[in-house]
Each structure stands twice: as C-alpha cells, then as structure tokens.
C-alpha cells in the first residue's frame, strides 16, 4: 500500500467524526498580537481604546479561521519532521508525505468578542485521490465550526489539504 493509499484509508475512517477543542477565552492581547503580525496598527489603537473605555472588542475578522491550533503544545520533540503537530496533520502521521493548503472558505456569522470562551468543532468531511500536473495526490476536506459557550456560531471554515508523496521519502516521515 502506498503512502497516499494509507492517507486515503485513514481519512475514510475519520470522515464525519467531529471532535471538539476548547479554544479558551480569547483576549484583546490575542487580537492585537494577531493584528500586529498583519502590520495593522489601526486595529491595535482602536481595540485598546475600546478596551480602556469598557466597550466590547471584536476580533479581527479572520482571527479564528487563521489560528491553526489552540493547544498548549506539543513540545518540539513531539512535532513531525515538517514541524506540524499530529493533530494538525490528520491522516498523515508517520507517512512519507508532504502537504500544503489547497484553499479555504470562511463564513463570518458573528465576530468573537474579547472575553468569550470559544469551542472549535472539527471533522474530516471528504477524501479523494486526484491526479495533478506534478503527480497523484490526496485532497482532504476539513470543516471547522467555531461557537461560543451558549452555542452561538461565530465562524465556519471549510478547507482542503493537498497531500503528496514526499520528495525525499527517507527523510520525510
């Protein structure tokens, strides 16, 4: 069985199995650091003024969608050779493959407000073998739904991950 066959088999076993992750309570500092990485000084000034005035502070629009993981870890020794954590790399743990994002669709329903506790619910929703210009690949479809503690939906993300055989199989797994 090739590495891509194994990815496909693992994915098919996971399709439709939703898992929840507690993202914790999002803060103004989280939002401002995210904005700083985007060189958005206006957001930081406005958010800090709102916070000082006791007004609610909305997150940058794609803050939830762009954050890859809400886990505390793992420590470096538990990362895959490509730097990804096992949970961020569904279906590929230990296999000689490489992966990149295929694309993403983000629907914003309500902005998360600083002080809210957020849950991310995730599932693999599809897995297909494809043939591209640079060879065969597996296209994984992933869905994430972010909600508040009272069940209000904040952001819906649907994304695809392209998984290909490693260029250097000996060093990739």
């Amino acid at each position: 069985m090739s590495a891509l066959d194994e990815v496909l088999a693992r994915a098919h076993r996971l399709v439709g199995r939703w898992e929840d992750e507690d993202c914790g309570t999002v803060t103004v500092k989280d939002f401002c650091r995210y904005a700083a990485a985007l060189n958005d000084a206006d957001y930081i000034r406005r958010a800090r003024e709102q916070d000082a005035a006791g007004a609610p502070v909305d997150a940058p629009a794609l803050f939830l969608a762009a954050t890859m993981s809400w886990e505390d870890g793992p420590p470096e020794g538990e990362l895959r050779p490509d730097g990804l954590a096992a949970r961020e790399s569904p279906c590929t743990e230990g296999l000689p493959v490489r992966q990149v994002h295929g694309g993403q669709s983000v629907r914003l329903l309500r902005a998360p407000v600083a002080g809210s506790r957020v849950t991310a619910s995730r599932a693999v929703i599809s897995a297909e073998r494809k043939q591209g210009r640079s060879g065969p690949f597996v296209l994984l479809g992933l869905a994430t739904r972010f909600t508040t503690a009272d069940g209000t939906e904040l952001t819906a993300v649907d994304e695809t991950i392209v998984v290909q055989e490693a260029l250097d199989p000996a060093g990739a797994a």
Partner: protein, 130 residues
C-alpha cells in the same frame, strides 16, 4: 468609493511579505509548519524560499477588499483556492473586479498574482455595506 457596478476593477495593490512577517504570522497563528520559516526545509520540499501561508493570502484578499469598500463595510465570506506558492520577498499584486452588487452586498472576484501574472490564489470576497 463610488457606488460600485458589476465589472468595475478595483485599484491594484502591490506588496511583498517579509520573512519577519511570515515568522510572526506563523507564531501568532501557532502554525509550526517549517515551510513558512525554515528556508532549508522549504528547499527540501521544492520551494525557492519560505512559503506565504494560505491564511495570510486570505487576509490579504480580505483586507484590501475592505480598504477599497471603506469603513462602513463588513466581511461576510471569503473563499480562495491556492494555485501556486508565493515566497517571502516576492513582488505580489492584489487584483479585484466587482462581480455583483445586490442591495447592500458587494461580491468581488479577487486574486493575488505574481510579477509575471501567474495567479497564486484566486477567490471571492463578499462584503456587506452597512
């Protein structure tokens, strides 16, 4: 912004992402995939330098659209497909065309293109004018 009409082209926006920005965006989004901050590892996967994150492209698609639409606009949806990778320091251009205007909702076809015109990402942004 004048009242948008389907077929309008938005002014082009030219920019680059620095290696520092890619590192900071990986850090703040807790994305430890080495292709984004380790040029040696990126080369081992066939990339000429550290790779711009897909979600950073999504931010770019969105932020220039909101800047074009003005302070009374709000993002409703953004979707994009990654066509080819972009790397740190590479000159990139944001392009957008108004696809539809329905009441207070504006849809844009957006893209990030390389200097030779090759699209890195293509997609759509839907904004509400509030």
């Amino acid at each position: 912004m004048n009242t948008p009409v389907a077929g309008d082209s938005c002014p082009l926006q030219r920019y680059t992402h620095s290696t520092v920005q890619l590192f900071r965006f990986s850090a703040v989004s807790w994305n430890s995939h080495r292709i984004h901050y380790d040029s040696g590892f990126a080369a081992s996967e066939g990339f000429p330098d550290v790779v711009v994150q897909s979600t950073l492209h999504g931010e770019t698609l969105t932020r220039y659209a909101l800047a074009w639409a003005g302070p009374n606009s709000r993002l409703e949806t953004v979707s994009w497909r990654n066509r080819t990778t972009a790397v740190a320091g590479e000159p990139l251009t944001w392009t957008a065309t108004v696809r539809a205007v329905e009441g207070a909702r504006v849809s844009l076809d957006v893209a990030v293109v390389k200097a030779d015109g090759t699209p890195c990402v293509t997609g759509s942004v839907e904004l509400a004018l509030v």
